[in-house]
Protein backbone atom coordinates (compact mmCIF):
# COMPACT_ATOMS: atom_id res chain seq x y z
CA UNK A 1 0.00 0.00 0.00
CA UNK A 2 1.46 3.31 -0.94
CA UNK A 3 1.56 6.12 1.50
CA UNK A 4 2.15 9.17 -0.67
CA UNK A 5 2.86 11.38 2.30
CA UNK A 6 5.89 9.44 3.52
CA UNK A 7 9.14 10.56 1.93
CA UNK A 8 12.72 9.53 2.47
CA UNK A 9 13.73 12.72 4.26
CA UNK A 10 12.36 13.59 7.70
CA UNK A 11 9.10 15.48 7.55
CA UNK A 12 8.65 18.96 8.93
CA UNK A 13 7.49 18.96 12.51
CA UNK A 14 3.88 20.15 12.50
CA UNK A 15 2.09 20.47 15.83
CA UNK A 16 1.58 16.73 16.15
CA UNK A 17 -1.05 16.93 18.83
CA UNK A 18 -3.74 18.78 16.87
CA UNK A 19 -5.02 15.84 14.77
CA UNK A 20 -4.78 13.64 17.85
CA UNK A 21 -7.08 15.96 19.83
CA UNK A 22 -9.56 16.01 16.96
CA UNK A 23 -9.73 12.21 16.74
CA UNK A 24 -10.06 11.83 20.51
CA UNK A 25 -12.89 14.35 20.44
CA UNK A 26 -14.58 12.42 17.63
CA UNK A 27 -14.32 9.19 19.59
CA UNK A 28 -15.78 10.62 22.78
CA UNK A 29 -18.56 12.32 20.81
CA UNK A 30 -19.50 9.11 19.02
CA UNK A 31 -19.55 7.28 22.34
CA UNK A 32 -21.97 9.72 23.96
CA UNK A 33 -23.98 10.64 20.87
CA UNK A 34 -26.93 8.28 21.59
CA UNK A 35 -27.22 9.84 25.03
CA UNK A 36 -27.15 13.35 23.60
CA UNK A 37 -30.03 12.39 21.32
CA UNK A 38 -31.95 11.00 24.29
CA UNK A 39 -31.38 14.21 26.21
CA UNK A 40 -32.47 16.30 23.28
CA UNK A 41 -35.84 14.58 23.14
CA UNK A 42 -38.85 15.91 25.00
CA UNK A 43 -38.89 14.71 28.57
CA UNK A 44 -41.59 12.08 28.65
CA UNK A 45 -43.02 10.53 31.76
CA UNK A 46 -40.00 8.80 33.17
CA UNK A 47 -39.91 5.15 34.01
CA UNK A 48 -38.25 5.81 37.31
CA UNK A 49 -34.87 7.36 38.04
CA UNK A 50 -32.89 4.13 38.19
CA UNK A 51 -34.78 2.57 35.30
CA UNK A 52 -33.94 5.42 32.96
CA UNK A 53 -30.36 5.59 34.23
CA UNK A 54 -29.96 1.88 33.54
CA UNK A 55 -31.28 2.29 30.00
CA UNK A 56 -28.93 5.17 29.28
CA UNK A 57 -25.93 3.27 30.68
CA UNK A 58 -26.83 0.40 28.38
CA UNK A 59 -26.88 2.68 25.35
CA UNK A 60 -23.56 4.25 26.25
CA UNK A 61 -21.96 0.88 26.88
CA UNK A 62 -23.13 -0.47 23.54
CA UNK A 63 -21.92 2.61 21.67
CA UNK A 64 -18.45 2.04 23.10
CA UNK A 65 -18.56 -1.67 22.21
CA UNK A 66 -19.64 -0.88 18.68
CA UNK A 67 -16.81 1.60 18.25
CA UNK A 68 -14.31 -1.13 19.13
CA UNK A 69 -14.52 -2.37 15.55
CA UNK A 70 -13.68 1.10 14.30
CA UNK A 71 -10.63 1.30 16.58
CA UNK A 72 -9.11 -1.89 15.25
CA UNK A 73 -9.83 -1.07 11.63
CA UNK A 74 -6.38 0.57 11.32
CA UNK A 75 -7.48 3.56 9.29
CA UNK A 76 -4.08 5.10 8.83
CA UNK A 77 -5.28 8.69 8.90
CA UNK A 78 -6.87 8.11 12.29
CA UNK A 79 -4.09 6.03 13.81
CA UNK A 80 -1.16 8.02 12.43
CA UNK A 81 -1.17 10.73 15.13
CA UNK A 82 -1.10 8.12 17.90
CA UNK A 83 0.72 5.11 16.60
CA UNK A 84 -1.49 2.12 15.96
CA UNK A 85 0.05 0.13 18.84
CA UNK A 86 -1.49 2.45 21.42
CA UNK A 87 -4.84 2.15 19.65
CA UNK A 88 -4.83 -1.56 20.46
CA UNK A 89 -3.95 -0.75 24.04
CA UNK A 90 -6.88 1.67 24.14
CA UNK A 91 -9.11 -0.98 22.54
CA UNK A 92 -8.47 -3.20 25.57
CA UNK A 93 -9.18 -0.38 28.02
CA UNK A 94 -12.37 0.60 26.22
CA UNK A 95 -13.56 -3.01 26.25
CA UNK A 96 -13.35 -3.10 30.02
CA UNK A 97 -14.98 0.33 30.33
CA UNK A 98 -17.79 -0.53 27.94
CA UNK A 99 -18.40 -3.85 29.63
CA UNK A 100 -18.55 -2.17 33.03
CA UNK A 101 -21.33 0.07 31.72
CA UNK A 102 -23.26 -2.87 30.30
CA UNK A 103 -22.81 -4.80 33.53
CA UNK A 104 -24.09 -1.78 35.47
CA UNK A 105 -27.11 -1.64 33.15
CA UNK A 106 -27.91 -5.25 33.97
CA UNK A 107 -27.08 -5.04 37.67
CA UNK A 108 -29.34 -2.04 38.29
CA UNK A 109 -32.23 -3.74 36.54
CA UNK A 110 -31.66 -6.98 38.37
CA UNK A 111 -31.48 -5.36 41.79
CA UNK A 112 -34.24 -2.75 41.46
CA UNK A 113 -36.59 -4.17 38.86
CA UNK A 114 -35.92 -7.89 39.03
CA UNK A 115 -39.49 -8.79 38.13
CA UNK A 116 -39.23 -6.85 34.88
CA UNK A 117 -36.41 -9.06 33.69
CA UNK A 118 -38.69 -12.04 33.55
CA UNK A 119 -37.61 -15.66 33.49
CA UNK A 120 -34.00 -16.58 32.87
CA UNK A 121 -34.51 -19.67 30.78
CA UNK A 122 -33.91 -18.92 27.08
CA UNK A 123 -36.91 -20.95 26.01
CA UNK A 124 -39.41 -19.19 28.26
CA UNK A 125 -37.95 -15.71 28.39
CA UNK A 126 -39.00 -13.07 25.88
CA UNK A 127 -36.46 -13.21 23.06
CA UNK A 128 -35.17 -9.65 23.50
CA UNK A 129 -34.17 -10.55 27.05
CA UNK A 130 -32.37 -13.68 25.93
CA UNK A 131 -30.62 -11.63 23.26
CA UNK A 132 -29.50 -9.09 25.83
CA UNK A 133 -28.23 -11.72 28.25
CA UNK A 134 -26.47 -13.49 25.40
CA UNK A 135 -24.76 -10.30 24.32
CA UNK A 136 -23.57 -9.54 27.83
CA UNK A 137 -22.23 -13.05 28.29
CA UNK A 138 -20.40 -12.94 24.95
CA UNK A 139 -18.83 -9.59 25.74
CA UNK A 140 -17.61 -11.03 29.02
CA UNK A 141 -16.11 -14.06 27.29
CA UNK A 142 -14.52 -11.81 24.68
CA UNK A 143 -12.74 -9.78 27.32
CA UNK A 144 -11.58 -12.69 29.45
CA UNK A 145 -10.34 -14.68 26.44
CA UNK A 146 -8.44 -11.66 25.15
CA UNK A 147 -6.85 -10.17 28.22
CA UNK A 148 -5.69 -13.59 29.39
CA UNK A 149 -5.14 -15.20 26.00
CA UNK A 150 -1.57 -16.24 26.76
CA UNK A 151 -2.44 -17.54 30.23
CA UNK A 152 -5.09 -19.76 28.68
CA UNK A 153 -2.59 -20.78 25.99
CA UNK A 154 -5.02 -19.88 23.23
CA UNK A 155 -3.31 -20.10 19.88
CA UNK A 156 -3.23 -16.71 18.20
CA UNK A 157 -4.82 -17.43 14.82
CA UNK A 158 -7.70 -19.42 16.29
CA UNK A 159 -8.22 -16.88 19.01
CA UNK A 160 -8.45 -14.13 16.41
CA UNK A 161 -11.13 -15.88 14.38
CA UNK A 162 -13.14 -16.63 17.53
CA UNK A 163 -12.72 -13.05 18.68
CA UNK A 164 -14.16 -11.64 15.47
CA UNK A 165 -17.02 -14.15 15.43
CA UNK A 166 -18.00 -13.49 19.04
CA UNK A 167 -17.76 -9.73 18.60
CA UNK A 168 -20.06 -9.74 15.58
CA UNK A 169 -22.55 -12.03 17.32
CA UNK A 170 -22.56 -9.96 20.50
CA UNK A 171 -23.17 -6.69 18.63
CA UNK A 172 -25.99 -8.21 16.58
CA UNK A 173 -27.61 -9.66 19.72
CA UNK A 174 -27.29 -6.33 21.50
CA UNK A 175 -28.92 -4.45 18.63
CA UNK A 176 -31.70 -7.06 18.52
CA UNK A 177 -32.15 -6.59 22.25
CA UNK A 178 -32.56 -2.82 21.87
CA UNK A 179 -34.96 -3.23 19.00
CA UNK A 180 -36.98 -5.93 20.75
CA UNK A 181 -37.28 -4.20 24.07
CA UNK A 182 -38.44 -1.19 22.16
CA UNK A 183 -38.96 1.28 24.98
CA UNK A 184 -36.88 3.99 23.47
CA UNK A 185 -36.70 2.99 19.86
CA UNK A 186 -40.25 4.10 19.36
CA UNK A 187 -38.77 7.57 19.21
CA UNK A 188 -37.80 8.23 15.59
CA UNK A 189 -34.64 10.08 16.48
CA UNK A 190 -33.44 7.22 18.63
CA UNK A 191 -34.23 4.63 16.04
CA UNK A 192 -32.29 6.62 13.46
CA UNK A 193 -29.31 6.84 15.79
CA UNK A 194 -29.14 3.09 16.30
CA UNK A 195 -29.71 2.36 12.64
CA UNK A 196 -26.92 4.81 11.94
CA UNK A 197 -24.57 3.06 14.35
CA UNK A 198 -25.46 -0.36 12.97
CA UNK A 199 -24.75 0.90 9.45
CA UNK A 200 -21.44 2.50 10.40
CA UNK A 201 -20.39 -0.66 12.18
CA UNK A 202 -21.35 -2.83 9.20
CA UNK A 203 -19.46 -0.56 6.81
CA UNK A 204 -16.33 -0.67 8.94
CA UNK A 205 -16.44 -4.45 9.24
CA UNK A 206 -17.06 -4.71 5.51
CA UNK A 207 -14.07 -2.47 4.81
CA UNK A 208 -11.72 -4.42 7.07
CA UNK A 209 -12.86 -7.87 5.94
CA UNK A 210 -13.54 -7.32 2.26
CA UNK A 211 -12.35 -4.01 0.80
CA UNK A 212 -8.90 -3.89 2.33
CA UNK A 213 -8.03 -7.55 1.56
CA UNK A 214 -9.11 -6.91 -2.04
CA UNK A 215 -6.77 -3.92 -2.21
CA UNK A 216 -3.93 -5.91 -0.69
CA UNK A 217 -4.42 -8.64 -3.21
CA UNK A 218 -3.81 -6.14 -6.00
CA UNK A 219 -0.39 -5.22 -4.54
CA UNK A 220 1.32 -8.54 -3.90
CA UNK A 221 4.94 -9.09 -2.93
CA UNK A 222 7.31 -12.00 -3.52
CA UNK A 223 9.84 -13.29 -1.04
CA UNK A 224 13.32 -12.69 -2.44
CA UNK A 225 15.48 -13.87 0.42
CA UNK A 226 15.26 -15.73 3.71
CA UNK A 227 18.43 -15.16 5.69
CA UNK A 228 19.43 -16.66 9.02
CA UNK A 229 20.59 -14.16 11.61
CA UNK A 230 22.15 -14.51 15.02
CA UNK A 231 19.95 -15.28 17.97
CA UNK A 232 17.34 -17.61 16.38
CA UNK A 233 16.20 -14.83 14.07
CA UNK A 234 15.52 -14.63 10.36
CA UNK A 235 15.42 -11.78 7.91
CA UNK A 236 12.80 -12.02 5.20
CA UNK A 237 13.06 -9.73 2.19
CA UNK A 238 10.01 -9.15 -0.01
CA UNK A 239 9.89 -7.23 -3.28
CA UNK A 240 6.79 -5.65 -4.86
CA UNK A 241 5.36 -7.46 -7.87
CA UNK A 242 3.93 -5.24 -10.54
CA UNK A 243 3.58 -2.11 -8.42
CA UNK A 244 5.80 0.50 -6.86
CA UNK A 245 5.71 -0.92 -3.34
CA UNK A 246 5.57 1.35 -0.31
CA UNK A 247 7.70 3.95 1.42
CA UNK A 248 8.18 3.79 5.15
CA UNK A 249 9.84 5.79 7.88
CA UNK A 250 12.66 4.00 9.70
CA UNK A 251 11.27 2.29 12.77
CA UNK A 252 7.81 1.68 11.36
CA UNK A 253 6.23 -1.74 10.97
CA UNK A 254 3.70 -3.52 8.80
CA UNK A 255 1.34 -6.45 8.99
CA UNK A 256 2.86 -9.25 6.95
CA UNK A 257 0.79 -12.07 5.47
CA UNK A 258 2.60 -15.22 4.37
CA UNK A 259 1.18 -18.40 2.91
CA UNK A 260 -2.40 -17.18 3.12
CA UNK A 261 -4.83 -15.03 1.24
CA UNK A 262 -5.38 -11.55 2.70
CA UNK A 263 -8.99 -12.52 3.42
CA UNK A 264 -7.96 -15.00 6.05
CA UNK A 265 -6.62 -12.29 8.36
CA UNK A 266 -3.52 -14.37 9.07
CA UNK A 267 -1.38 -11.29 9.31
CA UNK A 268 1.34 -10.58 11.86
CA UNK A 269 2.99 -7.28 12.69
CA UNK A 270 6.75 -7.02 12.12
CA UNK A 271 9.10 -4.08 12.07
CA UNK A 272 10.95 -3.10 8.94
CA UNK A 273 14.61 -3.76 9.70
CA UNK A 274 16.14 -2.40 6.49
CA UNK A 275 17.04 1.15 5.58
CA UNK A 276 14.16 3.42 4.57
CA UNK A 277 16.53 5.04 2.10
CA UNK A 278 16.99 1.75 0.29
CA UNK A 279 14.59 1.47 -2.61
CA UNK A 280 15.07 -2.27 -2.92
CA UNK A 281 13.16 -5.03 -1.19
CA UNK A 282 11.47 -4.56 2.19
CA UNK A 283 13.20 -6.42 4.99
CA UNK A 284 11.61 -7.82 8.13
CA UNK A 285 13.66 -9.46 10.87
CA UNK A 286 11.73 -11.94 12.96
CA UNK A 287 12.73 -13.89 16.03
CA UNK A 288 11.43 -17.41 16.63
CA UNK A 289 9.17 -16.68 19.60
CA UNK A 290 5.68 -18.01 19.02
CA UNK A 291 3.38 -20.19 16.95
CA UNK A 292 3.82 -18.29 13.74
CA UNK A 293 7.40 -17.09 13.98
CA UNK A 294 8.68 -20.64 14.27
CA UNK A 295 7.49 -21.30 10.72
CA UNK A 296 9.48 -18.42 9.22
CA UNK A 297 12.52 -20.57 8.46
CA UNK A 298 10.41 -22.73 6.15
CA UNK A 299 9.50 -19.81 3.88
CA UNK A 300 11.12 -20.08 0.45
CA UNK A 301 12.10 -17.35 -2.02
CA UNK A 302 9.37 -16.92 -4.60
CA UNK A 303 6.49 -17.32 -2.18
CA UNK A 304 3.69 -14.79 -2.19
CA UNK A 305 3.36 -12.20 0.58
CA UNK A 306 1.12 -9.26 1.40
CA UNK A 307 2.17 -6.16 3.27
CA UNK A 308 -0.29 -3.85 5.06
CA UNK A 309 1.63 -0.78 6.09
CA UNK A 310 3.46 1.27 7.02
CA UNK A 311 2.21 1.86 10.53
CA UNK A 312 3.59 3.35 13.73
CA UNK A 313 5.18 6.53 14.97
CA UNK A 314 8.25 4.89 16.47
CA UNK A 315 10.65 6.69 14.18
CA UNK A 316 13.49 9.18 14.28
CA UNK A 317 11.64 10.96 11.49
CA UNK A 318 8.93 11.91 13.97
CA UNK A 319 11.53 13.81 15.95
CA UNK A 320 13.53 15.88 13.49
CA UNK A 321 14.21 18.42 16.23
CA UNK A 322 16.25 15.93 18.29
CA UNK A 323 19.94 16.78 18.72
CA UNK A 324 21.03 13.27 19.68
CA UNK A 325 19.47 9.86 20.06
CA UNK A 326 19.78 7.04 22.56
CA UNK A 327 18.45 3.66 21.43
CA UNK A 328 17.77 1.05 24.11
CA UNK A 329 17.04 -2.41 22.74
CA UNK A 330 16.31 -5.74 24.34
CA UNK A 331 16.54 -8.83 22.17
CA UNK A 332 14.51 -8.60 18.96
CA UNK A 333 13.60 -5.01 19.86
CA UNK A 334 16.72 -4.19 17.88
CA UNK A 335 14.81 -4.67 14.59
CA UNK A 336 13.15 -1.25 14.27
CA UNK A 337 16.22 0.38 15.77
CA UNK A 338 18.38 -1.31 13.13
CA UNK A 339 16.16 0.26 10.50
CA UNK A 340 16.74 3.65 12.06
CA UNK A 341 20.51 3.15 12.30
CA UNK A 342 20.79 1.92 8.72
CA UNK A 343 18.70 4.82 7.45
CA UNK A 344 20.67 7.42 9.40
CA UNK A 345 23.88 5.93 8.00
CA UNK A 346 22.54 6.12 4.44
CA UNK A 347 21.67 9.76 5.03
CA UNK A 348 25.09 10.45 6.61
CA UNK A 349 23.27 11.90 9.61
CA UNK A 350 25.86 13.77 11.76
CA UNK A 351 24.04 13.59 15.10
CA UNK A 352 25.56 11.67 18.05
CA UNK A 353 23.97 8.26 18.59
CA UNK A 354 24.25 5.82 21.48
CA UNK A 355 22.94 2.26 21.42
CA UNK A 356 22.43 0.33 24.65
CA UNK A 357 21.73 -3.26 23.65
CA UNK A 358 20.82 -6.00 26.09
CA UNK A 359 21.04 -9.70 25.23
CA UNK A 360 21.51 -13.01 26.93
CA UNK A 361 24.62 -14.33 25.17
CA UNK A 362 27.26 -12.78 22.92
CA UNK A 363 26.68 -15.36 20.21
CA UNK A 364 22.99 -14.49 20.10
CA UNK A 365 23.42 -10.76 19.68
CA UNK A 366 21.26 -10.09 16.64
CA UNK A 367 22.89 -7.78 14.07
CA UNK A 368 26.16 -7.79 16.00
CA UNK A 369 28.29 -7.53 12.86
CA UNK A 370 25.91 -5.21 11.01
CA UNK A 371 26.03 -2.73 13.88
CA UNK A 372 29.84 -2.80 13.86
CA UNK A 373 29.90 -2.13 10.12
CA UNK A 374 27.68 0.94 10.58
CA UNK A 375 29.96 2.58 13.12
CA UNK A 376 32.37 4.20 10.65
CA UNK A 377 29.45 5.87 8.87
CA UNK A 378 27.82 7.30 12.00
CA UNK A 379 28.79 8.97 15.26
CA UNK A 380 27.62 5.83 17.01
CA UNK A 381 28.72 4.45 20.36
CA UNK A 382 27.54 0.96 21.22
CA UNK A 383 27.14 -0.38 24.75
CA UNK A 384 26.43 -4.10 24.86
CA UNK A 385 24.94 -5.56 28.02
CA UNK A 386 25.08 -9.32 28.43
CA UNK A 387 23.52 -11.69 30.94
CA UNK A 388 25.90 -14.56 30.26
CA UNK A 389 29.34 -13.12 29.60
CA UNK A 390 32.21 -14.72 27.68
CA UNK A 391 35.47 -15.16 29.66
CA UNK A 392 37.23 -12.03 28.37
CA UNK A 393 34.26 -9.72 28.82
CA UNK A 394 34.90 -6.30 30.30
CA UNK A 395 31.59 -4.68 29.34
CA UNK A 396 28.38 -4.34 31.33
CA UNK A 397 26.69 -7.45 32.65
CA UNK A 398 23.15 -8.34 33.68
CA UNK A 399 19.84 -6.98 32.48
CA UNK A 400 18.97 -3.39 31.62
CA UNK A 401 18.52 -2.51 35.27
CA UNK A 402 18.79 0.94 36.82
CA UNK A 403 22.48 0.69 37.82
CA UNK A 404 23.39 -0.70 34.39
CA UNK A 405 21.53 2.08 32.59
CA UNK A 406 23.06 4.77 34.75
CA UNK A 407 26.48 3.49 33.77
CA UNK A 408 25.57 3.06 30.12
CA UNK A 409 24.08 6.54 29.73
CA UNK A 410 26.35 9.38 30.87
CA UNK A 411 24.63 12.57 32.02
CA UNK A 412 25.64 14.37 28.81
CA UNK A 413 23.22 12.07 26.98
CA UNK A 414 20.16 12.89 29.10
CA UNK A 415 19.13 15.61 26.65
CA UNK A 416 18.71 13.01 23.92
CA UNK A 417 15.51 11.62 22.48
CA UNK A 418 15.21 8.01 23.62
CA UNK A 419 13.84 5.07 21.69
CA UNK A 420 13.00 1.91 23.67
CA UNK A 421 12.11 -1.39 22.13
CA UNK A 422 11.93 -4.77 23.76
CA UNK A 423 9.77 -7.03 25.92
CA UNK A 424 7.13 -5.15 27.89
CA UNK A 425 8.66 -5.82 31.30
CA UNK A 426 12.03 -4.46 30.16
CA UNK A 427 10.41 -1.49 28.50
CA UNK A 428 8.37 -0.59 31.60
CA UNK A 429 11.34 -0.79 33.96
CA UNK A 430 13.63 1.16 31.60
CA UNK A 431 11.01 3.91 31.33
CA UNK A 432 10.85 4.14 35.12
CA UNK A 433 14.63 4.34 35.37
CA UNK A 434 14.84 7.05 32.74
CA UNK A 435 12.23 9.06 34.58
CA UNK A 436 14.24 8.77 37.78
CA UNK A 437 17.31 9.86 35.85
CA UNK A 438 15.47 13.03 34.91
CA UNK A 439 14.46 12.33 31.32
CA UNK A 440 10.99 13.81 30.65
CA UNK A 441 8.41 11.31 29.39
CA UNK A 442 7.81 13.15 26.15
CA UNK A 443 11.38 12.45 25.04
CA UNK A 444 11.02 8.71 25.62
CA UNK A 445 9.48 6.83 22.69
CA UNK A 446 8.30 3.33 23.22
CA UNK A 447 6.83 0.78 20.86
CA UNK A 448 4.27 -1.55 22.41
CA UNK A 449 5.13 -4.85 20.75
CA UNK A 450 2.57 -6.90 22.59
CA UNK A 451 -0.58 -5.85 20.81
CA UNK A 452 -2.58 -9.02 21.39
Amino acid sequence: MRDGSASISPRKSIAPWWPAIAWIFAYVLLSIFPLLVLLRGRPRAGGGYWWDAAMALGFGGLAIMGLQAVLTSRFRRATAPFGVDIIYYFHRLAAVGGFALLAAHYAILRVKYGAALGPLHPLTAPWPMTAGRGALLLFGILIVSSLWRKNFRLEYDRWRIAHAAMAVTAIVLALAHIYGVGNYTRLTANRLVWMGYASLWTLVVGYVRVVRPLTLRKTPYRVTEVRRERGAAWTIAVAPQGHAGLQFRPGQFAWLTLRASPFRAKEHPFSFSGSAADSGALQFTIKELGDFTRTIKTIEPGELAYVDGPHGIFSVDHHPEATRFVFIAGGVGIAPIMSMLRTLADRSDPRPLRLVYGNRRWDDVLFREDIESLRPRLHLEVVHVLQETPPDWNGLTGVLSAPVLREAIPSSWLSATFFLCGPKAMSDSVQRTLRHMGVPLRRVQCELFDMA
Binding site: Y27, S31, L39, Y49, W51, A115, A116
Partner: protein, 131 residues
Amino acid sequence: MREIIARVVCLLTVGAVVALSFLFAARQNPAAAAGTIKSPPPDHERGRSVFARENCSTCHAIAGVGNPRASLDGVGSRWEPAELRAWITGTGIAADLLPPAIAKRKQRYQSIPEADLQALIAYLSSLKAAK
Protein backbone atom coordinates in the same frame (compact mmCIF):
# COMPACT_ATOMS: atom_id res chain seq x y z
CA MET B 1 3.38 8.55 28.09
CA ARG B 2 0.85 7.52 25.46
CA GLU B 3 -0.47 4.87 27.79
CA ILE B 4 -1.28 7.52 30.34
CA ILE B 5 -3.18 9.54 27.75
CA ALA B 6 -5.03 6.39 26.67
CA ARG B 7 -6.13 5.70 30.23
CA VAL B 8 -7.26 9.29 30.70
CA VAL B 9 -9.31 9.27 27.50
CA CYS B 10 -10.95 6.00 28.46
CA LEU B 11 -11.88 7.28 31.91
CA LEU B 12 -13.15 10.49 30.36
CA THR B 13 -15.40 8.61 27.95
CA VAL B 14 -16.81 6.25 30.55
CA GLY B 15 -17.26 9.15 32.95
CA ALA B 16 -19.12 11.15 30.33
CA VAL B 17 -21.48 8.25 29.69
CA VAL B 18 -22.18 7.83 33.41
CA ALA B 19 -22.74 11.55 33.93
CA LEU B 20 -25.07 11.88 30.96
CA SER B 21 -26.98 8.77 32.00
CA PHE B 22 -27.80 10.16 35.42
CA LEU B 23 -28.53 13.56 33.97
CA PHE B 24 -31.02 11.92 31.64
CA ALA B 25 -32.58 9.96 34.51
CA ALA B 26 -32.94 13.10 36.60
CA ARG B 27 -34.52 15.01 33.73
CA GLN B 28 -37.02 12.28 32.99
CA ASN B 29 -37.99 11.84 36.61
CA PRO B 30 -38.25 15.20 38.36
CA ALA B 31 -38.86 14.65 42.06
CA ALA B 32 -42.67 14.72 41.86
CA ALA B 33 -45.12 13.81 44.55
CA ALA B 34 -46.38 10.35 43.70
CA GLY B 35 -49.78 9.76 45.35
CA THR B 36 -49.97 6.73 47.55
CA ILE B 37 -51.38 3.80 45.70
CA LYS B 38 -53.69 1.55 47.56
CA SER B 39 -51.99 -1.81 47.65
CA PRO B 40 -54.05 -4.52 45.95
CA PRO B 41 -56.44 -6.43 48.19
CA PRO B 42 -55.10 -9.72 49.49
CA ASP B 43 -57.45 -11.86 47.42
CA HIS B 44 -57.55 -12.21 43.62
CA GLU B 45 -55.11 -15.06 43.93
CA ARG B 46 -56.03 -16.58 40.64
CA GLY B 47 -55.75 -13.30 38.79
CA ARG B 48 -52.37 -12.69 40.39
CA SER B 49 -51.06 -16.08 39.36
CA VAL B 50 -52.22 -15.53 35.77
CA PHE B 51 -50.37 -12.22 35.82
CA ALA B 52 -47.22 -14.01 37.00
CA ARG B 53 -47.58 -16.95 34.64
CA GLU B 54 -47.91 -14.73 31.57
CA ASN B 55 -44.86 -12.65 32.69
CA CYS B 56 -46.80 -9.42 32.52
CA SER B 57 -44.11 -7.89 34.80
CA THR B 58 -41.73 -7.68 31.86
CA CYS B 59 -43.81 -4.77 30.57
CA HIS B 60 -45.99 -3.70 33.52
CA ALA B 61 -45.39 -2.71 37.12
CA ILE B 62 -47.86 -3.02 39.98
CA ALA B 63 -47.04 -1.26 43.26
CA GLY B 64 -43.46 -0.73 42.13
CA VAL B 65 -42.75 -4.31 41.12
CA GLY B 66 -42.07 -4.91 37.44
CA ASN B 67 -41.34 -2.72 34.44
CA PRO B 68 -42.13 0.84 35.49
CA ARG B 69 -42.61 2.07 31.94
CA ALA B 70 -46.26 0.98 31.87
CA SER B 71 -47.51 1.00 35.40
CA LEU B 72 -50.88 -0.59 36.09
CA ASP B 73 -51.44 1.16 39.39
CA GLY B 74 -54.96 2.51 39.43
CA VAL B 75 -55.83 0.90 36.13
CA GLY B 76 -59.09 -0.32 37.61
CA SER B 77 -60.17 3.30 38.03
CA ARG B 78 -59.23 4.21 34.45
CA TRP B 79 -60.84 1.40 32.49
CA GLU B 80 -63.98 -0.70 32.59
CA PRO B 81 -63.56 -4.49 32.63
CA ALA B 82 -64.54 -4.75 28.97
CA GLU B 83 -61.89 -2.20 28.09
CA LEU B 84 -59.34 -4.06 30.23
CA ARG B 85 -60.06 -7.16 28.18
CA ALA B 86 -59.37 -5.15 25.01
CA TRP B 87 -56.10 -3.86 26.49
CA ILE B 88 -54.95 -7.32 27.50
CA THR B 89 -55.71 -8.87 24.13
CA GLY B 90 -54.64 -5.99 21.91
CA THR B 91 -58.07 -5.54 20.36
CA GLY B 92 -60.61 -2.72 20.07
CA ILE B 93 -59.47 0.47 21.73
CA ALA B 94 -56.03 -1.01 22.37
CA ALA B 95 -55.54 -1.81 18.71
CA ASP B 96 -56.23 1.85 17.95
CA LEU B 97 -54.03 3.35 20.65
CA LEU B 98 -51.10 0.97 20.88
CA PRO B 99 -48.18 0.92 18.40
CA PRO B 100 -48.91 -1.88 15.91
CA ALA B 101 -46.00 -4.07 17.01
CA ILE B 102 -47.16 -4.05 20.60
CA ALA B 103 -50.82 -4.62 19.77
CA LYS B 104 -49.71 -7.59 17.73
CA ARG B 105 -47.68 -8.98 20.62
CA LYS B 106 -50.68 -8.69 22.94
CA GLN B 107 -52.90 -10.70 20.64
CA ARG B 108 -51.19 -13.85 21.80
CA TYR B 109 -53.02 -13.35 25.11
CA GLN B 110 -56.26 -14.14 23.31
CA SER B 111 -55.34 -17.75 23.85
CA ILE B 112 -55.53 -17.42 27.63
CA PRO B 113 -58.33 -19.72 28.92
CA GLU B 114 -61.51 -17.69 29.47
CA ALA B 115 -61.70 -18.40 33.20
CA ASP B 116 -58.14 -17.26 33.69
CA LEU B 117 -58.74 -14.15 31.62
CA GLN B 118 -61.75 -13.21 33.71
CA ALA B 119 -59.74 -13.71 36.91
CA LEU B 120 -57.00 -11.48 35.54
CA ILE B 121 -59.51 -8.78 34.57
CA ALA B 122 -61.09 -8.96 38.01
CA TYR B 123 -57.65 -8.55 39.61
CA LEU B 124 -56.77 -5.57 37.46
CA SER B 125 -60.17 -4.00 38.08
CA SER B 126 -59.39 -4.08 41.79
CA LEU B 127 -56.36 -1.82 41.29
CA LYS B 128 -58.00 1.47 42.14
CA ALA B 129 -56.29 4.81 42.28
CA ALA B 130 -55.98 6.52 45.64
CA LYS B 131 -58.47 9.31 46.22
